[in-house]
Symmetry: C2
Subunit: 225 residues, 2 copies
Amino acid sequence: MSNDTKTGQTSVIRDLLPEPTLQRLPWYLAYVCQLRAQGVENVSSTQISKHLNVDSSQIAKDLSFLNIRGKTRIGYDVVELENTLKDFLEFERQHPAVIIGVGSLGAALIQDSGLTRYGLNIVAGFDIDPDKIGAHMSDRIPVYHIEAMQKTVSRLGAKIGIITVPPDQAQAAADAAVNAGVKALWNFSPLRLRARQGIVIQDTSIYSHLALMYNRLEQQKRNEN
Amino acid sequence: MSNDTKTGQTSVIRDLLPEPTLQRLPWYLAYVCQLRAQGVENVSSTQISKHLNVDSSQIAKDLSFLNIRGKTRIGYDVVELENTLKDFLEFERQHPAVIIGVGSLGAALIQDSGLTRYGLNIVAGFDIDPDKIGAHMSDRIPVYHIEAMQKTVSRLGAKIGIITVPPDQAQAAADAAVNAGVKALWNFSPLRLRARQGIVIQDTSIYSHLALMYNRLEQQKRNEN
């Protein structure tokens, strides 16, 4: 893979990058994409700060990890900032992925053009539903039986397995994906997954987020009474 | 709303509950739901710990916030634990919500029966696409023009606005939803949203999660070389 040719400098920076910084970078990217579309040429950390409600010194610090510095009284070059962020976040690369469970959420992720724009290339789906196997999602993503995962994942070079099966099947799906050779699990199930050391697990537990939101709503309501 | 009748005791506990605890509770719930479906009657914190890879003393501490204690050598009663978690997390209540932007992700969330099971009741969608307005998503959720939000949100009593519009429209969609009376914004856009004090904002930034996952994959690959 072309990723292997990645050279030292950026790698060193990557290791040092704190996770909160990494989570903020896509916010900056989304904002500078807007500015570029509007034809804006420069943006100051103060402007970004006002727009995103992040402390401007924090923004300067975050961006300094990427060796980007703004010019006094001018700020950052919008196009340069966008390109650097896109490159750093690897959204411009193709990350081949398979999706296990093409129910409503799985099917939606396949259709979400946003993911494609952010570098996720879903190359196949897996399911156990005979009505789905053999079909194509969005007219282009083939759906295979989950038992075909082993040969399909290696053939397609998929490194990411997206887990969108029901909770009681999530661990088995994850095990099958790891055995088939994926290196990262993107877990949409509410279940905590286990995997051998070296496998990256990224939880996007939308149900946990619901619980947080309900809880804060309740607190807020009491504060107002 | 029936939520208003919520009494003191649980409220006090809620305020004290640390956010990491709150995020783990849905994991416990997903696991005990499985156990209950399998007919298991009791579960120890050690078993939960092994299954979810969370320290068993942490589990006991988390559950003590809910006034649940296991019995020596028996553990927790599975049905009681499930009911208490469900009640506490408010997944059994109906939380009326509207969705702003019924593109691929918005449409998927409407179809995701998981959200319904976790108490999210999507009562209407909003869009600006004439082909979508007037139609029903999943044969039951009406889609209105975004300009109808003011009267529709109050009529339906929606307290949550789900933001699934493209990034450059996210802030305007959020402003419209707050003006129409929602108290919480569930933000799926990669943009950081602003809202007046008292409005709950829950980010589910799946694109940030992608960046984290790509980054960890890259680190892992280097560790293995």
